[in-house]
Symmetry: C2
Subunit: 397 residues, 2 copies
């Protein structure tokens, strides 16, 4: 029985593909520090857990396809605090950020249309593009310049007759890069000049350090028709398993079309929406504490990486990832080696090879991504193992 | 700003499209009995609610893309009870039945490929087909014969070079029809003869009455490579808002491909899965009580419908829907009339016009779907209003 072409083409998760090596290590009794995935160890807010504990509904019923009214109203408040002025009608709640991205692709692109995206990029964009039949056209960014955006002219060169949108992740996964207001302004001007959409993935909005300021696509004047914000509560409230996101746009006909796709799948999870709603009313110091914690983790990882001779890494200002270029030809081989052949006192560490984050074949082979999602004690141990391992690995090559 | 062609083409929900009329009636203080949607009023099982109430996790984390191990193991038990013998590896948990259908379409079909589906069919199949770029080819069934399957030769005639699958909903939404073992056998033989998949939507598995026996695609011998079961807990446990479904197949390469699509969206809702897990261990009499309740409701609706002269309706044996052919040219006009111009003691009723359930233009204009999802008291009142309204409507035409 034949499967579809897209069933053959869809990318297996490069973040999860090395899991068999990790599982084999664990079977031998080795503890593996997972710096390969974006699952934070921060506790989900008590106010959110309380909603599950005190659920009083008798029937877990369908909610509206656009999301629960109460939650959409709260999101208006949430975005207002971030200088993003939208109404409920500009918001459709989705099953996590994933669905928001798929919807954004489906309403802007036909099969075979193109979206320009800076690489390295969040690898699951590939899967969503396969689902929507969209071609991702990468514009390469470099470790040497902290993965900032290239000259606009270079992005413009990639534009063709089928280009429909530019997709950004800001702050960036896997790079941790925060785009400046000027960069966002320039990208949006390019989009306006050529009638393109800007699909802006802002799930790490709050994760900015060193005084960096996050610029939303919704902050840029004139983007009412062209701007699409995709979002998720997963990282912000350490609630990855709650599967609540949203798509936001002031483009009314676009949102009407999104609603029709949303109606086909009926609704996002009802109870998780109620729980997400509570998070909008957390005290300000909740996010401040998270920021302090992640900044400390980032500093720890960055300091350790700087100790490695020949490493290329600019200090990232956002998200909870560092992508680093190592002085070895094959970072994936190093990641596998750490799992298969290395340990310190029965412990080792797992990272994500960065080649899977590039669409251009051959790029990122000497890079890997570290997610600093473990507490400082574990992270300290994990980074010591990483460094010690790297020294031995490199000397043996 | 142009949207995509599919954004223009995707069907607005025919079940929800008349909601503005219902809302207008409610604004005037009129109570509307909703028989237009498949949201049961049955309470979600206490054992399921208990899982939310006693949730002990500190972090609502990503689960595995294929679903939580504990839940997949439970599903093996659940299916075993229904004579469906599968292993955990044959099951991938999805975000409701909706996602299971989209995955099934994506892995079996390329853009432009065709799936044959008996009409009237669950209208959201249209939306999923638009998302996957698949063409649905309808084979018409008729009120006069209880919407049973037509002769196999007639289905066979619709097969073309791009046909990849046959999709069934059994028991049927919107018809309530239960396919016999012979019908399922014949469909599966057709599929095997021509190398087609059978995508079997069995979310109403337990909802069978009058001794009718449900036949799963997984019951038919030889369908290991060709059979795909899509499922959902929404109706069975009155948990529509929990968004937990699954896709089941013994075709290993197909499931490997599904897993890659599943990895792109990371995971289905974690807490809802834990809650769904509890439902597998409900006592047998839970489902028996539900069956008795729905059977009584069906009898009530059916008896009332029979009182209407000229109505065409065979007693349906499953699900919680009746599709009925009325002696009027435009059933949608009648539905709108009930909402706009009719009331009994400040109450009226809403049904779903059936034209939206047909893919063939012009069919179903004189049919509507009644979902018997209200308690017997409300349903009695609703059906009296329906009948009284119909008499006046018809006399005035």
């Amino acid at each position: 029985m034949d499967l579809s072409r897209r069933a053959a083409e869809i990318q297996a998760s490069p973040i999860r593909k090395l899991m068999p090596y990790a599982n084999a290590a664990k079977k031998q009794g080795i503890r593996v520090y997972h710096l390969n995935i974006g699952q934070p160890d921060i506790e989900t807010p008590a106010a959110m857990m309380k909603v599950y504990h005190e659920l009083s509904e008798k029937v877990i019923a369908y909610g509206p396809s656009q999301g629960l009214d109460v939650y959409r109203k709260s999101l208006v408040t949430y975005y207002g605090r971030h200088g993003i002025h939208v109404s409920e009608d500009d918001i459709i709640v989705t099953t996590a950020g994933s669905e928001a991205i798929v919807f954004a692709m489906l309403v802007t692109c036909n099969e075979g249309d193109e979206i320009i995206v800076p690489e390295p990029f969040y690898t699951n964009y590939n899967g969503f593009a396969t689902m929507a039949g969209v071609a991702l056209v990468p514009v390469t960014t470099y470790a040497e310049t902290g993965y900032c955006l290239p000259e606009i002219a270079q992005i413009e060169k990639l534009r063709g007759p089928r280009t429909r949108a530019i997709m950004l992740c800001n702050p960036g996964n896997p790079t941790g890069t925060v785009y400046s207001h000027d960069e966002m302004q320039a990208i949006c001007e390019l989009a306006l000049r050529h009638g393109l959409y800007v699909i802006s993935d802002e799930v790490y909005r709050e994760f900015v350090y060193d005084g960096a300021v996050h610029t939303s696509v919704m902050h840029i004047a004139g983007m009412e028709e062209n701007g699409i914000l995709v979002d998720s509560i997963s990282k912000r409230y350490s609630a990855c398993g709650a599967r609540i996101g949203c798509i936001v746009s002031k483009n009314k006909s676009l949102m009407t079309a999104v609603l029709k796709f949303a109606q086909a799948r009926l609704c996002p999870p009802t109870v998780d929406q109620l729980a997400a709603n509570a998070c909008v009313y957390l005290p300000d110091d909740y996010i401040e504490a998270i920021q302090r914690e992640y900044k400390a983790r980032r500093d720890l990882v960055y300091e350790e990486l700087l100790q490695i001779p020949g490493v290329v890494c600019r200090k990232p200002q956002g998200a909870f990832y560092v992508t680093v270029k190592l002085p070895v030809p094959d970072a994936e081989d190093f990641v596998i080696w750490l799992l298969k052949e290395f340990q310190v006192d029965g412990e080792t560490v797992m990272c994500a090879p960065a080649n899977g984050f590039y669409a251009t074949p051959g790029l990122g082979e000497d890079e890997l991504r570290i997610a600093y999602i473990l507490n400082k004690d574990d992270l300290t141990k994990a980074m010591h193992i990483f460094r010690a391992g790297f020294e031995i690995y490199r000397a043996s090559r």
